[in-house]
């Protein structure tokens, strides 16, 4: 197809021709084209279908505010939905396709919605899909989900990389139009560090789209020269293709740079996009303005576009929107489109100017006091109907219509911290209000200064103010002469009187009728209006439609537009790919993985690993011939209790606590007493939160008069350390105590079972007989002929057990040595599953019982809370509700019939009681299979459980459909007297 609508001029490189395809058809384009400009140059106006009514649509705008021309780009894993054709740079081989249509863009079966439009008014979903309730999940939701959304995802993993970066500067300038360029020149020449960011791939803003002069050059040439000078300054960083998404706090700005979107695929080593965090105490917003349409019947046909966009396509891209055009405007700026298009040789059939009186354009049919009332053309505009000042209707054959309802300053970023924009009666637009982000000033059209001269002036003035605040007072350079026309506009929001639909928000198919309905049903606040009609939602966030909608609502309520107000502006300014927000945090790099010292050995042995926080721990270690996890776990438990088992317990938190007040400090953080613990001994410690609930538990050893080592649970290693620092710095700053986390410094193994001592005696250099190293002993030792180590005689399994720690770099050697020496005892390594079985058999609490809602009394450890000393949580552990004699108590549970299953989360019910909340007696926290009892066993919290030992109840789980008769027993299933421990 030829470029039938290509005209002379513009900033495209005609020496190179690119090929791209749209819906399978091949077209020609030039470097500098956007997908929209290239399609228009090829005479293609139809680019998309609207969201609800599937109306045929073409581009409304020439920028990021585009509501209509949303397309899918690329194929396969790189397929990307909902990109705006108006900002997509064409590259050779680009494949684009339309979306939200079936079977084709020209014939869309879902366009039946357009015929049924009287049903699909605002609130349709709320009113229609209400009942019956049972239809919601199975019928309504699938239908709605199928109909909703525009593009579709590839469902393949994104093959590209995304990155994050950090930048610092003295001045960030957002937008590179006349105001932004002038500000950057002023600050850049003064030598301060400047970042100039613009969403466009070509800097210059409207200077590239207009025909007037700046100084003795064309606007576009002046912009190019300014960009070249800035590029030559080492202290200025130009960031095209970079959208500033919004201001965070304290001078931090978020921005996304589309590094490779304009290429078929990223260059080697380059990301697709980079999310920047820009630190700049000072910023100038020079984000320009966005034109808005006027609502009239059938104002959404392909070929109808904003006046500024139509002349941008002609002036910047050499693409004419039509051969016979008309212009509909309520302001002087719209007239420029008529003049520019006529000068390009396009037939300007009429200018329909809603304003009465005033000058007429020479040589063009300029109708004053006239309005467009309707349009024709199913897949593209073929004609318009207008009403002249004298009331006479007239039909014109045109294939394009330029519409200008005035310009809205892009105040978004000034309002992201909740500053309310101010209504300017002269501009008929919202301008930045008071109290915007600290350090942010505004220049040019974004500030409501709409002329080029005004933009250059305010850009320079704001930069000078920044320089002064930086102590770099600078003499201003002479500004070039530029267009300085005043804004002349009369209000016209909606051409009333018709029966058809007049679109306000084209993307969401919100028409004047929907706003009327919202008003009728009392959704008159702008925030309600937005939610009820979807005005201003989705990818464009109402950049073209919002003010129009507000104005129509104001007309209905009788309030003024400023009284009606705007919805809240929130970042991001334009949509951001999830990939850019994730950066490198995806797949295996989503979070760090921590490996235990025995990991390599366990991996060699074929261990099955489980994620425990960031750690990977051995869950069980299958032997040849074992086909189910239970076989492995049962074997590990039985072998440990029969002879000896080894478990890597490095993941438990370890905190060294030293200082003359170390013991006193521990007395504060533990509910029980540690200052009296003899040197060379361990003690189980119970740590409460200040509210009296149990925070954590673990053993703490005293290795010297002023030296303790605390262990925490794996899950709480970090929070407990944070808590200890809090107690030390904020509550007891007088104490002489120092803390350091040594979790990673020591590789630690539990060696448990009747032969544990015999095995360790082969490695430990010192005497560890029961007399020399009794139950709960702890101390510094050496192993293997001199390696420093720590030994603790503590047990979680209930067996004769030790924990032995060596510096982490020896951890791999130690597990290999233990297994080598352990061969004589048939030693096994056991994983977290066997660990869990043995601790439940012994009645020890763990994460399931330490759930942040349980007290020492609940756990049967109430006597551990000393009332004789100050400790965190002591006072509030005694308050009402925490000390009831019939509160929850830890119990053991086993099924009456050992063959019957029980499941964790089951609730205790009396036999015969109905399974309702009123009869709930508590719940099962942990359930394991005990190979010793040949039955499942459990721990649980049961109301007055300590008084119910021996009683029969039911464990009921309505979700897993388990209802099993159980016997309440002591939580100590095995060796209740602890004889094994002391062996």
């Amino acid at each position: 197809m030829t470029q039938s609508h290509r005209i002379a001029g513009g900033q495209i490189d005609r020496s190179t021709t690119l090929r791209f395809s749209f819906d399978g058809q091949s077209f020609a384009a030039h470097p500098g084209d956007t997908l929209a400009s290239a399609l228009l140059a090829n005479g293609v106006r139809l680019m998309g279908r609207s969201f609800k009514y599937h109306r045929p649509r073409g581009p409304l705008s020439a920028g990021s505010e585009e509501p209509n021309a949303l397309v899918e780009l690329r194929t396969g894993a790189r397929r990307e939905p909902n990109t705006r054709a108006t900002v997509v740079e064409v590259f050779d081989g680009l494949q684009a396709s339309s979306q939200n249509r079936w079977p084709s863009l020209r014939f869309d079966a879902m366009a039946i919605n357009d015929r049924l439009n009287s049903f699909f008014t605002a609130g349709f979903y709320y009113k229609t899909f209400m009942w019956p309730a049972s239809f919601w999940e199975k019928v309504y939701e699938p239908i709605i989900r199928r109909a909703a959304g525009l593009g579709s995802l590839s469902r393949e993993e994104d093959p590209d990389e995304y990155d994050k970066g950090f930048l610092h500067c003295d001045l960030l300038i957002i937008g590179a139009g006349p105001a932004g360029l002038m500000a950057a020149l002023t600050a850049g020449r003064a030598g301060v560090r400047v970042i100039l960011a613009d969403e466009d791939f070509r800097m210059g803003g409207r200077l590239n789209a207009e025909t007037h002069a700046v100084g003795d050059q064309t606007a576009a040439s002046w912009a190019a020269a300014a960009v070249a000078e800035l590029a030559s300054l080492p202290n200025v960083r130009l960031m095209p293709r970079t959208t500033v998404l919004g201001p965070m706090d304290h001078g931090i700005y978020s921005a996304v740079e589309r590094v490779s979107d304009h290429l078929p695929e990223p260059l080697p080593g380059k990301p697709r996009q980079t999310l920047w965090r820009i630190y700049s105490a000072r910023a100038i917003l020079a984000g320009g303005a966005t034109e808005r349409p006027i609502a009239f019947e059938n104002n959404d046909r392909p070929g109808i576009m904003l006046a500024g966009a139509m002349r941008a396509y002609a002036n910047r891209w050499g693409a004419k929107a039509g051969d016979r055009i008309a212009v509909f405007t309520n302001n002087d700026d719209g007239l420029r489109t008529a003049v520019d298009m006529a000068s390009k040789g396009v037939d300007v059939v009429a200018v329909i100017d809603s304003r009465e009186g005033g000058d007429l354009l020479p040589g063009i049919r300029h109708l004053r006091g006239a309005v467009v009332t309707d349009t024709a053309g199913r897949l593209g505009l073929t004609g318009i109907t207008l009403r002249q000042a004298n009331g006479r209707a007239e039909t014109l054959q045109v294939d394009a219509l330029a519409v200008s309802g005035g310009w809205n300053p892009n105040v978004n970023i000034t309002s992201h911290h909740r500053s309310k924009p101010r209504w300017d009666e002269g501009l008929l637009a919202f301008v930045p209000g008071e109290g915007g982000p600290s350090g942010l000033s505004v220049a040019g059209a974004a500030a409501g200064v709409m002329s080029t001269q005004g933009a250059l002036h305010t850009g320079q003035a704001q930069a000078l103010a920044v320089l002064e605040s930086l102590g770099r007072l600078t003499k201003p350079a002479d500004l070039p002469q530029a267009e300085d026309a005043p804004v002349r506009i009369s209000p016209l929001w909606h051409v009333a009187g018709g029966k058809g639909r007049a679109w306000i928000d084209q993307q969401n198919d919100v028409t004047v009728k929907d706003v009327v309905l919202a008003h009728q049903e009392n959704f008159t606040s702008v925030e309600h209006l937005k939610r009820y009609t979807t005005l201003g939602m989705a990818t464009d966030q109402g950049k073209t439609g919002n003010v129009l909608g507000i104005a129509v609502m104001a007309g209905l309520t009788g309030q003024t537009i400023p009284e009606t107000g705007t919805t809240i502006y929130r970042p991001p300014y334009t949509p951001v790919a999830m990939g850019a927000l994730a950066g490198r945090s995806r797949g295996p790099e989503f979070k760090p993985v921590r490996l235990t010292p025995s990991h390599l050995w366990a991996k060699e042995q074929g261990a099955v690993f489980v994620e425990v926080g960031n750690w990977l721990r051995t869950q069980w270690l299958p032997k040849p011939g074992e086909t189910t996890w239970r076989q492995s776990v049962d074997r590990e438990v039985l072998a440990t209790r029969r002879s000896v088992g080894i478990c890597d317990v490095t993941t438990l938190g370890k905190i060294d606590i030293q200082g003359t007040d170390a013991g006193a400090f521990l007395d504060r953080v533990y509910a029980n007493t540690f200052s009296t613990l003899p040197v060379g001994k361990c003690r189980y410690g119970l740590m409460l939160r200040e509210d009296g609930m149990v925070m954590d538990d673990g053993t703490t050893a005293r290795l010297g008069p002023h030296e303790y080592v605390m262990t925490t649970t794996t899950a709480n290693a970090v929070p407990v350390f944070r808590h200890l620092e809090y107690v030390r710095q904020c509550l007891f700053p007088d104490m002489d105590v120092q803390l350091i986390s040594t979790t990673e410094a020591w590789a630690q193994y539990s060696v448990a079972g009747p032969n544990a001592r015999k095995l360790l005696e082969k490695l430990v250099d010192q005497d560890i007989s029961d007399a020399a190293f009794p139950y709960m002993a702890a101390g510094h030792i050496t192993v293997c002929g001199g390696l420093r180590a720590r030994l603790f005689r503590i047990s979680f399994s209930g067996e004769l057990a030790y924990e032995i720690a060596v510096p982490t770099r020896y951890g791999d050697a130690l597990i290999r040595r233990l297994m080598q020496e352990g061969a004589a005892f048939d030693a096994v390594v056991y994983g977290t599953e066997a660990l869990g079985v043995m601790r439940v058999e012994k009645g020890h609490v763990a994460g399931n019982e330490l759930n942040g809602q349980s007290t020492a009394l609940n756990m049967g450890l109430g006597k551990m809370v000393s009332r004789k000393k100050d400790s965190i949580g002591m006072v509030l552990s005694q308050r009402d509700g925490m000390t009831e004699p019939d509160g929850y108590r830890l119990v053991g549970v086993k099924p009456v019939d050992p063959a019957r299953a029980i499941s964790a989360g089951s609730h205790f019910l009396e036999i015969g009681a109905a399974p309702v909340a009123a009869n709930d007696g508590g719940w099962l926290t942990s359930v394991v299979y005990s190979p010793h009892l040949n039955s499942q066993i459990a721990l649980g919290y049961l109301k007055a459980g300590d008084q119910k030992i021996g009683r029969r109840m039911r464990a009921v789980n309505l979700l897993t459909k388990v209802d099993t008769e159980v016997e309440i027993v002591s939580p100590h299933f095995l060796d209740p007297m602890g004889e094994r421990l002391r062996g």
Binding site: C730, L731, P733, S871, V875
Partner: protein
């Protein structure tokens, strides 16, 4: 946000963990205060729209607890102190 650490200078708020109202440092005396006083101290806190003294922990840094005075409406930070210094002053004033 940027927190101007008294020792380390300006640091990104992402390096910190937030705890809450710095009045938590004014802990009642366990042996004399009683349950009511503890309850009031722990649970009944102000939620000001404006200046708020609060505890932040430099977990990805030097492990200092800081008392940060922040305007909850604007996020402006007007003062940053080492919590230990504040706690010592609090002790001396008792």
């Amino acid at each position: 946000m940027i927190i101007n650490h008294p020792i380390l200078g300006p640091r990104d708020a992402q390096e910190f963990v937030y705890l809450g109202d710095a009045s938590l440092m004014n802990r009642p005396d366990t042996m004399t205060a009683g349950i009511e006083a503890f309850h009031d101290w722990l649970y009944t806190r102000d939620n000001p729209a404006g200046l708020h003294r609060e505890l932040w922990y430099h977990e990805q840094g030097d492990r200092s607890w800081l008392v940060v005075t922040r305007n909850t409406l604007t996020h402006e930070i007007t003062q940053v102190e080492l919590a230990r210094d504040v706690a010592l002053a609090l002790r001396r004033s008792k």
